[in-house]
Amino acid sequence: MNEVLASRKAIIFYIIPALLLVVLFMYIPLILTGYYGLMEWNGMGEMIFTGLDHYRRLIGDPLFWDSAKHSLMLGLFSTLALVAYLIVSLILSQKMKGANLLRKIYLIPMLLSSVAIAQLWLRIYHPTNGIFNTFLIYLGVENPPTWLADPNLVLYALFVPIIWQYAGFYILIYYTALKNISVDVLEAASMDGANVWQTAWKIKVPMIMDIIKVTVILAVVGSLKYFDLIFVMTGGGPNGASEVLASYMYRTAFRSFDFGYGSALAFALLLVCLITTVVVRKITTLKGV
């Protein structure tokens, strides 16, 4: 077997299927999307070349900037949530009782499909029968917020289930990374008199810094292209108050039949993701940690 893998031809032979699939289903559609963005096209019928018109329209489109802002806010909140996930993982990785069980409990939301989570949280947020408002009314609040109907609240109301949904995933990553830290290092630290707090922030966190950097990029990029919960729970409404880049793109292409502009939006989303990834990487390396 080793003999086989050492051969250049064999390597190429084994790489080709995956490479073909990636090129065929990722890179070619990507280039096509960029190309459609230059066209006026309703998804069928004739395409008319309009050059950079769609990109000019995009720059002046308040809906685009609003949804971009919402996406970036989600990115920011998801990154902040990483701190919370990290703290939970640090606590779990101490030799505490029931850590194993808790870790599994945290993981459960990740196993549910987004649509199921959306249905669950729709009930939690229900303006009259939902858990939140039933509780608030019980406490004597007269007009509890209508969460998903309130344009000032809807975005934050959506962030909660999204952050909840991914908790298990990041906790699992952090927990595994923390468990991989050599016991020798931790023993040495405790011999030198480091307390729990110092061990956590001076030893453990720096030692898993590479993993943390990766999760920051995962969280930011994942947030920028986030779609499912928002689409099921509000559809971007009311009046675009919870529209994010991906849902705006979807709506433009598939509901307004404006594939040209929708493609331009998709391409812009790709650029935003690339730029953010580069920026995030720059920031995390600059810190020199």
Binding site: M1, E3, V4, S7, A10, F13, P17, N42, G43, M44, G45, L122, Y125, H126, P127, T128, T146, W147, L148, A149, D150, P151, V154, T234, G235, G237, P238, N239, G240, R251, A253, F254, R255, S256, F257, D258, F259
Partner: protein, 427 residues
């Protein structure tokens, strides 16, 4: 294992995998013709619809040996996505469902859908209720044959009305009075699920009709009129007036239509403006208690003092219709199936599914619930039926309209802005 054997074995696995799928693809007999048919009624969410469709397909297949119908039911929203994707690949199913007017337009312009005038001229001549097929006509040809005809009444809960001691309102003044009294009795007057903004659009459409007259909205949409006319601003202001009075259920902008309907079905809300497609809920659906179903009735949207509207004017129109794909390789068979389907559906729709078909129904011979008789009678008396605004508009404008409806209900725009932004949407 030698290098060569490994490569050969993997290649063989790869090749055999491919050829296997080829084989099963080519297994269809050459004699047999298959009609691909995509419809909107999956067995789970529309059980009776689905069953009747299956019956019709079976009957067609047994009358026409050698033709197989390959039916694929898909839910509403996914259905629209599927249509978009398949038609951009020029790969529409031979027969399928489409909505009228604005939705249909891109498909017709793109040459994806075949005209059906041949059927209308021969077998289905005079089969349809006047004014239903027109919504599917474009550039002098008919591209869809409607299956349903709907109008939207205000359903109300008689027990709640009795509890509050109010009568069915016949003028808008009385209607506002009813809302006040219901509120005093701690009953939610109206439920509306404006997350699906077409439901709020129904309220706006009716008010526009009652203020500006039956053709005002249609003219504003086809650009012989304008949304800035006073009657539209009045209608928008009246919506906000209702919101101010707490006439609508709490959190309406965050509720889906289903969630809002639940408030009505639970007996929490007294009124619900919705299409006649919901009649089965209030007549035959065993999931709702007999007591509840007996307590439901409907009234016509009341007229406004000084408005140009007529109480016999309705918001509604044909629902979905059948199309035949232009590039279908079994076009003749597809046309025959459409004809068969329309006829059989017309026979079974009211009695077995509880849907009012777009084809003419003889109420005398049918043994049906009285609410159906009442609505069929009202349909005959209707002075005008205004097609749903988001169906009349082109898809892009419809999206803006629906967003604006949410903004209007949410008090985020003034009635004047609301009118102006509609005007801008058409530019």
């Amino acid at each position: 294992m030698s290098k060569v054997t490994v490569i050969i074995v993997t290649s063989l696995l790869f090749i055999s995998g491919c050829s296997q799928s080829n084989h099963s693809g080519g297994a269809v007999e050459s004699q047999q013709k298959t009609i691909e048919f995509m419809h909107l009624w999956p067995s789970g969410s529309s059980t009776t619809h689905y069953r009747v469709v299956e019956e019709i397909i079976e009957a067609f297949e047994s009358e026409n040996p050698g033709i197989v119908i390959n039916a694929e039911p898909i839910d509403n929203e996914q259905y629209k996505d599927r249509m978009t994707v398949l038609s951009s690949a020029n790969n529409l199913p031979d027969v399928g469902f489409t909505w009228a007017a604005g939705y249909l337009e891109p498909f017709v312009e793109g040459g994806r859908i075949a005209p059906l005038d041949q059927l209308l001229a021969e077998d289905l001549k005079d089969a349809f209720v006047p004014g239903t097929v027109e919504a599917f006509q474009m550039e002098g040809a008919t591209y869809g044959l409607p299956l349903e005809l709907n109008i939207a009444p205000i359903y109300f809960n008689k027990s709640l009305f009795i509890e509050a001691g109010v009568q069915v309102p016949s003028t808008y003044e009385e209607f506002l009075g009813v809302i006040q009294v219901l509120l005093e009795h701690n009953i939610t007057p109206i439920t509306v699920g404006n997350r699906d903004a077409w439901t709020g659009s129904l309220w706006y459409m009716y008010l526009a009709d009652r203020y500006g007259g039956a053709s005002a909205l249609t003219q504003a949409i086809n650009r012989t009129g304008s949304f800035t006319e006073q009657s539209f601003v009045e209608a928008a202001r009246e919506i906000q007036n209702l919101v101010d009075q707490n006439a609508f259920v709490t959190g309406f902008n965050g509720l889906s239509n289903d969630e809002a309907k639940a408030e009505f079905l639970n007996g929490n809300a007294a009124m619900y403006l919705m299409g006649s497609w919901d009649l089965p809920e209030f007549t035959t659906n065993e999931a709702n208690s007999q007591e509840f179903r007996d307590s439901i009735d409907y009234f016509k949207f009341p007229t406004v003092a000084g408005g140009a509207g007529d109480i016999e004017s309705w918001v509604g129109g044909p629902g979905v219709g059948l199309y035949v794909a232009e590039n279908s390789d079994v076009k003749d068979e597809a046309l025959a199936f459409v004809k068969f389907f329309i006829e059989k559906w017309g026979e079974k729709a009211v009695t077995e599914v509880g849907v009012i078909p777009a084809t003419k129904v003889d109420t005398e011979v049918l043994d049906i619930h009285e609410m159906y008789i009442k609505i069929l009678k009202d349909l005959n008396q209707a002075s005008h039926i205004t097609l749903f605004a988001d169906v009349q508009m082109s898809p892009a404008v419809a999206q803006i309209h629906l967003n604006l409806i949410q903004a209007l209900f949410g008090q985020e725009v003034t009635p004047e802005q609301f009118a102006l932004e509609h005007e801008e949407a058409f530019e």
